[in-house]
Amino acid sequence: MVAKLTMLCIISSHGLNYRHSALLNRTKEIGMRRGILALLAALSMTALFAGGCANKEVVKSEEAVVPKEVIAEPVKAEPKSEPVKPVEKIAQAEPPAAKQAEKAAVAEVSFETVYFDFDKSDLRQDARNVLNKNADILLKSKPDAKVQIEGHCDERGSAEYNLALGERRAKSSMQYLITLGVKADRLSIISYGKEKPAVQGNDDAAWAKNRRAEFVAK
C-alpha cells in the first residue's frame, strides 16, 4: 500500500530508451499528465516530427524507442518500427551512455531531454510534458539541485546561427520551468549549437534526436 517510488529511467540524452518499471505512482498524484503512454508517444513522435519545416516529406523511419505498448495517439504517419536495429546501432556508438544510464538507473530519477522541430525553439506538447516531469524532480525529489540546460541543434543550418538557436531552445525550456515554480537561480543555460550531436547520422531520425535541450545536474 505504500506508494513506493519505482524507477523510470530514460537516458534520452543519448538516444537510448529503456525502462525498468512501468509506472511512477506520483503520476497519479500530480494528475496533470497522461503517464507512460504519453511519454512513449512523445518520444516516438519526436522521430515523426523530424522532417520539420524545411522538409516537406513525411518522416518514414522510426527512431530508437523500444515500444512495449502500442501508441494510441493520432500521429502524422504510420510508423514503421524497427526497434531492435537502431538501438543496437546507438548502443555501439555510445557505450559510455549505457554505463551512465545504469548508474543513474540504479540511483534515482533523471532529467529527461526535450526535443524540438527543425529551426524552431517553441515547445511542443511532448516537450512540455517532459518539462513538467523535470520540474517535478526539481521541486520535489531534488529540491536543492541546480541544473544547466544545454541547447543543441541538428547538423543542418549554419554553425554560427545554430549557436544562437540552441541558446533560444535552452532559454525556452528554462522559462517554462520558471513558470512552473522552479527558482531561476537554480537554472543556467548554455548553447552548443550543432557542435555536440547526441547521435551521428545524416537522416531525419538522427537530426530529430539532436534538436534538443538537455538537463545536466550541476
Binding site: 549554419s158 544562437a164 541558446e167 543555460i189
Partner: protein, 421 residues
Amino acid sequence: MLLALFLVLPTVVFAESGIIEVTAPGNRTLKLVVDAPLPFETTPHVESAREISDVLVFDMNMSGIASAESRDLTPSPGVLSLADTDFMPWMTGGYDLLIRSAYRIKGEELTVEFRMFDVLNHKLLTAKRYLGRTDELRRFAHSFADEVLLVITGEKGCFTSRIAYVSTQSGNKEIYVMDWDGYNPLPLTRNGSINLNPDFSPDGREIIFTSYKRGNPDLYRRALSNTAEIGLSNRKGLNITGTWSPDGSRIALALSKDGDAEIYTIAKDGSNPVRLTVSRALEVYPGWSPDGKQIAFVSDRLGKPQIYVMDADGGNVRRLTTSGSYNVNPRWSPKGDRIAYSRSQGGFQIFSIRADGAGDTQLTSEGSNENPSWSPDGRFITFSSSRGGGPGLYIMRADGSGQTRISKGKGGYSQPAWSRN
C-alpha cells in the same frame, strides 16, 4: 621569421608598373613560363628548384592574369642577366613572359634571385633577390609572384598571406593557420575544447576566436608569436563570431548577455560593449565594410536568417539579401563593391552580391560550401566545401572560377579566415 630583402644592384632597370608592353593578339591570357631555377655557387638542389617553380606556377595560374607553366628548354648558362638570356626558345614556344631564377644554399642559408622578362621585346621587367633561411624558400617565391602581379596589373598580389581555420584532426575543433596555398599548417590552439570562428587582426599579428575551454563560449585573443590565449569577452551567454574592424580599434561580435544574440562592438581589449542591434530576433556574424562605416550581419527577424547591413553605429538597417530563404556568413570584399555569403538550399552554396543588393551571383555548385572569406587584395575567396570526400578548404577567384582545394590533410576543415595583409 624575418624576410630579408635586398634589391638588386642599380644596373638593373625596374619597369613601370601597370602597363606591360606585350602585344598579345586579341584578349587571350598572357602565357608565362618559369625556366628551371639554376644553382649558383652551390650543388644543385632538385627539390628546392622544383618547389620554386611550383610556387610561381601555382600562384600565377590562380591569379588568372597569366597561364603559367614550368619548362626547361635551355641548357643552364649560369647567368641571369638580360645579355645572357636567349629568348629564341621562348618566343618559339609562344610565351609572353619569362621568369628566370637562381638559388644558392649554404647550410641553413638561402639566397634566391628572380628576374622577369618580356619575351617579345627582350626587356627586363622586374628583378628581386632574397636572402634568408632555407625554410623561407616558398615565401620568397610567393613574394616574387606578388611582385609579378604588381608589375602586370598595378596591384600587388596576396601570395604571402595566410589563412586561419578550424580543424578536427586532433579529435576536437582547434584553430590552425596555413599559407594561402595550404602549405605549412601550424596549430594555434591546443586546449582540447571546442574552438570556433578565428579572425585575423588587420596587422596580421593576432587572431581572435571563440572557445568553450572555460565552459562557456567566450572570445579569446592570441598573438601568433605567443601561445597565451587571453580572454577578451567572457560575458554571460554567447561571445561569438568576433571580427576586427578594419582600423583595428574595435571588434564586432554577437553577445547574448542582454537576452538573445545581438550585434555589439567592443574595444580591442574587450571593454566598452556598445550594442548595435535591438530586436526580438537572433543576430549573429557581423562583417565590416572595408572603410569601417558599415556592418553586414545575419538576422532572423523575418523568420529565417537573412543578411542585413547597418551603419557602424547601428543605424540605417536595411535588408541586403532578397533571394533565397536562408542566407548567412556575410563577408565584405576588401574592394568594397561586393559581399560574399552562403545560402542554404539543402546544402550551402557561396554567392556574392553587390553592396547595393543587385547582381546576386552564385559562385559554387558542387558539394556544400560555407564561410567565404576574401583575400586581402579582393582577388580570391576561400571557403569550406564538402565536395570530393571533404570537408576541405578551397580557394577560388572572386568570379567563382579556378576552384582549387588547398587543405592537404584529412582534418575536418571549416571556418577559414583570410589574413588582411
